[in-house]
């Protein structure tokens, strides 16, 4: 497989975990904001 493609695929796998963490932060932030408004 092309080395450049291999590289960016590997990088994207690592990024997927970051997106999951950020989604969790978004969920926590919205939940907290909702509580404060309520």
């Amino acid at each position: 497989m092309d080395q450049g493609l291999v590289t960016v695929i590997g990088m994207s796998i690592a990024y997927a975990a970051s997106f999951l963490g950020m989604a969790l932060a978004w969920y926590g932030w919205k939940k907290r904001s909702g509580k404060e408004e309520g």
């Binding site: 092309d2 080395q3 450049g4 493609l5 291999v6 590289t7 960016v8 695929i9 590997g10 990088m11 994207s12 796998i13 690592a14 990024y15 975990a17 970051s18 997106f19 999951l20 963490g21 950020m22 989604a23 969790l24 932060a25 978004w26 969920y27 926590g28 932030w29 939940k31 907290r32």
Partner: protein
């Protein structure tokens, strides 16, 4: 396969018992609180974080890749290992700032530095990244141990991957960071001993330093003893432009946080240190010992090259250092050598298990899922995540023989796009969460474009890695600078709180002036004494005594300022570290300048200490005194082993309770 005698097994078993038993010994301390489980209670003297930095930087795969670059490039390959030199400036800049923040992790620091939703998204982003990275590193290092097991005993690779890691997990689960750091200390001693012995035995096997040098010259390979044997400015396999790029990444990166993948474990060591001074010395000494280690390794690998020249397959010559140890050491010492390999493996595995658990427990679980979780629940969650990371690393290790290559490249690319933002977030008040987040996002898209899409379609030639670095950085800047400037700065209240607590270096003028205007700090607390790089020789109207060129008596307020002394040390420190690495490598070949360089590095270390120690003592004494009451309050509130404290801590208290009265950190508990 290597034949082990009874004596070898005895030594290997004894050292293993000592290293693991020593770590288990501290399990009661880890039970006290989250702070004990993840930061050893923030009370460690500098030499414990230092040994932990060295041990964590020395993994089973480290001798392989160091051997790889030295075998291929000679002493100039030492510069591949010089990324550790971020500790040269980092010890006196970013470590000092980070230690004062009291953040458990780099992800937690993000919500101190930035505010609002952007900061929260960054924290989640970074925590997710670090949980993954620690599992990846565990699999990567575990696989290296699997290969060593196959070389030494003919074991299937999975045996070396699984069993040593299970041993490590046992004490990491029980003793937390206390077990990690105490284990690292014992393992570091064993590792240093083995590295010294194998290096000297390897050189002796060739006939000594003079014979080694002579043989290299005879073979027409004399250039291998020259760390500066460039092949041109931009041409050949070792262009000066690559070297300069590496220097900039490593040395200038010390002003930032996260500019090296090693920053994340070292952030835990910084925070576990007993004071700002302990944190600075711990990181500096750990980095310096690591670079000296590289000098020893390099000399022995040149010896291996003379003994076994012309090996073409990387997978074969990467095992050179292990072969020197197992093939040249006498009976008995082979067991010690194997114990040392276990030691370097255990120390890295334990650190990353604990660190990955910290990021999940503290930055994801507690922050976003169960903010009201008791300390007991958090420690139990820490143990559960440690176990999950362990299992994940086995899975990863078994499937990553090819993925490793992907991710090593990925790490390089990752650093390219966020290297500058990692520095800006520390030194520039106006840089905000959206700018930093956009840098991470842009890096993914730009990397796809530069590294694959454009070259694949012939629109762009494949570039050498150092040019890719600069291009990715420049393209990323086209995104994060406009994003920063087009979005609002962080709230001034938030910035002032952060500024007062950490006193960062760099462009913080508006925040400083606002803090002065509000009467939170006194302008010119060190008037007439702070100077700058140029410095002022006399204070106003001669009413204050003349400032010496190097000031060695500091009040706490004076020491808070960044002064001439800091800048001298910042300039001197990378030079000293480079001199140690190159000097030791040259000294081991009896090259004339080796002794001079090594002596100069030792004297330089003394000079750094003489210049900066009075200031660090003043900063530490004052800050730790104010922090102590706050931390005591915090720890009492969250300690859940009632009889150990006698306060009747309910175990249900949150940091919000304990955060009251925190010096300069009135929202500390709310993080």
């Amino acid at each position: 396969m290597i034949q082990f005698s009874t004596l070898d097994w005895f030594w290997a078993g004894s050292f293993l018992l000592l290293m693991v038993g020593g770590a288990f010994f501290f399990y009661r301390l880890a039970r006290r609180s989250e702070s004990d489980f993840f930061l050893a209670g923030r009370r460690l003297p500098w030499w414990l974080p230092a040994s932990s930095v060295f041990s964590t930087h020395t993994a089973t795969d480290t001798p392989m890749w160091v051997t790889g670059v030295i075998y291929a490039h000679g002493y100039r390959g030492l510069w591949y290992t010089f990324f550790t030199a971020w500790t040269a400036i980092g010890s006196f800049v970013s470590a000092r700032i980070f230690r004062r923040s009291l953040a458990y992790s780099q992800a937690e620091w993000q919500v101190m530095r930035f505010g609002g939703m952007g900061a929260e998204l960054l924290r989640g982003w970074m925590a997710g990244w670090q949980v993954f990275m620690n599992m990846f590193i565990l699999g990567w290092v575990g696989m290296a141990m699997g290969k060593v097991g196959a070389l030494v005993f003919g074991w299937p690779v999975w045996v070396g991957l699984v069993f040593p890691t299970l041993i490590t997990a046992a004490y990491t689960l029980v003793a937390g960071y206390w077990g990690v750091v105490m284990g690292d200390f014992l393992q570091g001693i064993v590792a240093i001993f083995a590295i010294l012995i194998v290096s000297l035995v390897g050189i002796a096997a060739v006939g000594g330093p003079a014979e080694l040098s002579g043989r290299l010259v005879e073979m027409g390979e004399g250039w291998r003893m020259n760390a500066f044997a460039f092949t041109g400015l931009f041409t050949g396999d070792f262009p000066a432009a690559w070297w300069l790029t590496m220097l900039v990444i490593a040395v200038v990166g010390g002003f930032g946080m996260g500019t090296s993948i090693d920053w994340y474990p070292e952030a835990q060591r910084i925070q576990s240190a007993g004071s700002v001074r302990d944190a600075a010395y711990g990181i500096w000494a750990g980095g310096a010992i690591t670079l000296i280690r590289n000098g020893f390794w390099a000399a022995s690998i040149l010896a291996f090259f003379v003994l076994a020249p012309g090996i073409a397959d990387v997978a074969d010559y990467e095992l050179g250092w292990f072969r020197l140890g197992f093939e040249l050491l006498p009976t008995g010492l082979i067991g010690v050598f194997f114990a040392a390999i276990l030691a370097i493996h255990l120390s890295t595995i334990s650190s990353h298990l604990n660190l990955g658990a910290l990021y999940f427990t503290r930055d994801l679980f507690q922050r976003y899922l169960r903010p009201d979780a008791s300390e007991e629940t958090l420690v139990q969650m820490g143990r559960l995540v440690t176990a999950v990371l362990l299992l994940g690393s086995f899975f990863y290790g078994m499937m990553m023989q090819e993925i490793t290559q992907w991710l090593i490249f990925a790490l390089w690319l990752m650093m390219a796009g966020i290297w500058l933002p990692n520095i800006l977030q520390v030194v520039w008040w106006r840089f905000n969460a959206w700018g930093y987040l956009s840098a991470w996002m842009a890096n993914l898209g730009v990397a796809w474009l530069v590294v694959w899409i454009l070259p694949a379609f012939g629109a762009f030639p494949p570039l050498p890695d150092y040019l890719q670095f600069w291009l990715l950085m420049a393209l990323g800047a086209l995104v994060f600078f406009p994003t920063t400037l087009l979005t609002k700065p962080e709230e001034m209240d938030h910035l002032i709180r952060y500024y007062l607590q950490t006193r960062p270096l760099g462009w913080w003028g508006p925040v400083h002036r606002e803090a002065v205007r509000r009467g939170l700090i006194v302008e010119g607390a060190s008037a007439g004494v702070s100077g700058g790089i140029g410095g002022t020789a006399f204070s106003a109207k001669g009413l204050v005594p003349k400032r010496p060129f190097i000031k060695r008596r500091w009040t706490a307020a004076e020491a808070e300022e960044w002064t001439r002394e800091d800048w001298i040390v910042i300039a001197l420190s990378p030079v000293v570290m480079a001199a140690f690495m190159i000097g030791v490598a040259a000294l081991l070949l009896f090259q004339p300048f080796g002794l001079s360089l090594t002596v100069a590095a030792v004297l330089g270390t003394g000079l750094i200490y003489w210049i900066i120690d009075p200031k660090l003592r003043a900063v530490s004494a004052d800050y730790e005194q104010r922090q102590a009451a706050y931390l005591e309050d915090l720890e009492r509130g969250v300690r859940w082993e009632k009889d150990a404290v006698g306060t009747g801590g309910s175990g249900q208290n949150t940091h919000e309770d304990a955060g009251r009265g925190a010096p300069e950190a009135d929202n500390r508990g709310g993080r």
